[in-house]
């Protein structure tokens, strides 16, 4: 009977010691999961912006040569749609979606072949490339003496194939 009583006491101590650790681990896991969800949404935003811009073709060039060529405003279209898509995740971003999209490195290569000086890639088709650093709020990480804002690096490249 006596060792049972001693066990009850040790269980309480053990719970008091481990509960904060468990809560911290749980919060960290939840924050990491939320960050992965935001990362997926940001990546989808960049992909969609790229595809929309690629879909914007120069009809005059098509009539002249029969070849697909990006419209002159493909980069503008990509930036606009990137901002629109980021706006749906605005509460999770550490900054306005417009400013994040404006700071993104978006390049359109209307004709091929072309070389991307940022990535060193050779494009054999007219290509739109979106590269952006998206700051995302991670308050739980901040409370855990980590960074309260996590930067997501996103890269999307699209072309008609």
């Amino acid at each position: 009977m006596s060792w049972i009583r001693n066990d009850r006491g040790s269980a309480m101590v053990l719970t008091l010691v481990l509960a904060p650790l468990l809560l911290v681990a749980l919060a960290g896991v939840l924050q990491l999961g939320a960050l992965r969800v935001v990362a997926a949404r940001v990546r989808a935003a960049a992909d969609l912006a790229t595809l929309v811009a690629v879909n914007d073709q120069d009809d005059a060039e098509l009539a002249r040569s029969g070849a697909l060529r990006l419209s002159w405003d493909a980069a503008v279209v990509a930036r606009e749609y990137f901002a629109r898509e980021l706006a749906s995740s605005a509460p999770l971003l550490d900054g306005p979606a417009d400013e994040i999209a404006a700071a993104a490195d978006i390049a359109a290569y209307p004709s091929a072949p072309a070389y991307d000086t940022r990535t060193g890639t050779r494009y054999d088709r007219p290509t739109v490339r979106v590269a952006a650093d998206v700051p995302v709020r991670t308050p739980v990480f901040g409370a855990l003496i980590l960074r309260p804002v996590t930067i997501l690096h996103v890269l999307a490249v699209g072309s008609p194939r």
């Binding site: 992909d47 790229t50 595809l51 690629v54 879909n55 073709q57 098509l62 009539a63 002249r64 040569s65 029969g66 070849a67 697909l68 088709r125 290509t127 999307a156 490249v157 699209g158 072309s159 008609p160 194939r161």
Partner: protein
């Protein structure tokens, strides 16, 4: 007695008679006569057009060449419909005169049997888009006629009959049977139509011929089957898709004034492409009635992400 009974019965019937109260379909509209179907107004857009520009109510269909005995008439068939476009007169040219717009009309400018160009008028078509009038094409409305005699005649093959009343630069040199003697009449021998006809496919009515075109999957593209004879464009009477993958085209045949419009919702096998073959029919004095086949390779692409 019988007469009296019949009269009494008739009187009773008249007294008991009452209106039938049949439903008048037009009573609710406050009128007793059937509605008169009013002709649909020609809805010209309420847009202030610049001077010289007018709303099109008769649309070009095709060039028409008719022969009645020795008289050959060159005219233009139109249909009374409004496509929402505008037009202006570019140039009115008499028979044989050259114009700065020669070769720019999508339907070309035919020639008489002696090689001179027919008379007519060049029009430029516009559409109103984004607050401005955008030129889309140039069309030539031919309006001419000539008299010809067959080779069996003993007279010289080509003779010009002068006329004191003739004016060399008649604005509308249409010759009718009644007044043909009042102006120069060309007596010519119809040459055998031996000029080769070259088929051409282009995106616009007047644009560079293409042998290959890239299109995005599902996006509609317009292809104009055209024909050239001796370096000059000749009007296409009709075209038909005779081979290849026509995609989701609504029509696989049409007249020369109507383009082939289609979209392809499926990609070709990797590394492959669709080839569309048009059978183009022309019937002009310089070519005769001919059919030629023209092909264009269609490469269907789709926006895709790269790794």
């Amino acid at each position: 007695m019988k007469r009296g009974g019949a009269a009494a019965a008739l009187g009773l019937l008249l007294l008991w008679s009452s209106p039938a109260f049949a439903w008048d379909t037009f009573l609710e509209e406050g009128r007793s006569e059937p509605p008169v179907l009013e002709a649909a107004p020609d809805l010209a857009p309420l847009i202030a057009t610049p001077p010289g520009l007018y709303y099109v109510t008769d649309t070009y269909v095709q060039d028409v060449v008719t022969s009645s005995g020795p008289l050959t008439t060159y005219s233009t068939a139109t249909v009374h419909e409004s496509t929402g476009s505008y037009a202006r007169v570019l140039d009115t040219v008499p028979t044989g005169a050259s114009s700065a717009f020669d070769g720019s009309a999508f339907n070309g400018r035919a020639a008489l049997t002696d090689g001179r160009s027919v008379a007519g008028t060049y029009y430029e078509n516009f559409v109103f888009a984004d607050g401005a009038f955008v030129p889309i094409s140039i069309v030539f409305f031919q309006d001419d006629a000539e008299l010809a005699r067959h080779q069996a005649t003993t007279k010289p093959p080509v003779t010009t009959v002068p006329s004191p009343a003739a004016r060399p630069s008649t604005p509308r040199p249409l010759v009718s049977a009644c007044c043909a003697a009042e102006r120069p009449v060309v007596i010519a021998v119809p040459p055998a139509p031996t000029k080769p006809v070259r088929p051409v496919i282009s995106i616009l009515p007047v644009s560079i011929p293409l042998t290959m075109v890239e299109v995005l999957r599902g996006r509609a593209v317009t292809l104009w089957p055209r024909a050239f004879a001796d370096g000059r464009e000749v009007p296409v009477r009709s075209w038909t898709v005779v081979a290849g993958e026509a995609g989701d085209a609504l029509a696989t045949a049409g007249s020369g004034g109507v383009p082939f419009r289609s979209s392809w919702s499926r990609l070709a096998p990797p590394g492959g492409a669709y080839e569309v073959v048009f059978r183009i029919e022309v019937d002009t004095p310089e070519t005769g009635h001919r059919t030629v086949d023209g092909a264009i390779t269609v490469v269907v692409r789709s926006p895709a992400l790269q790794d």
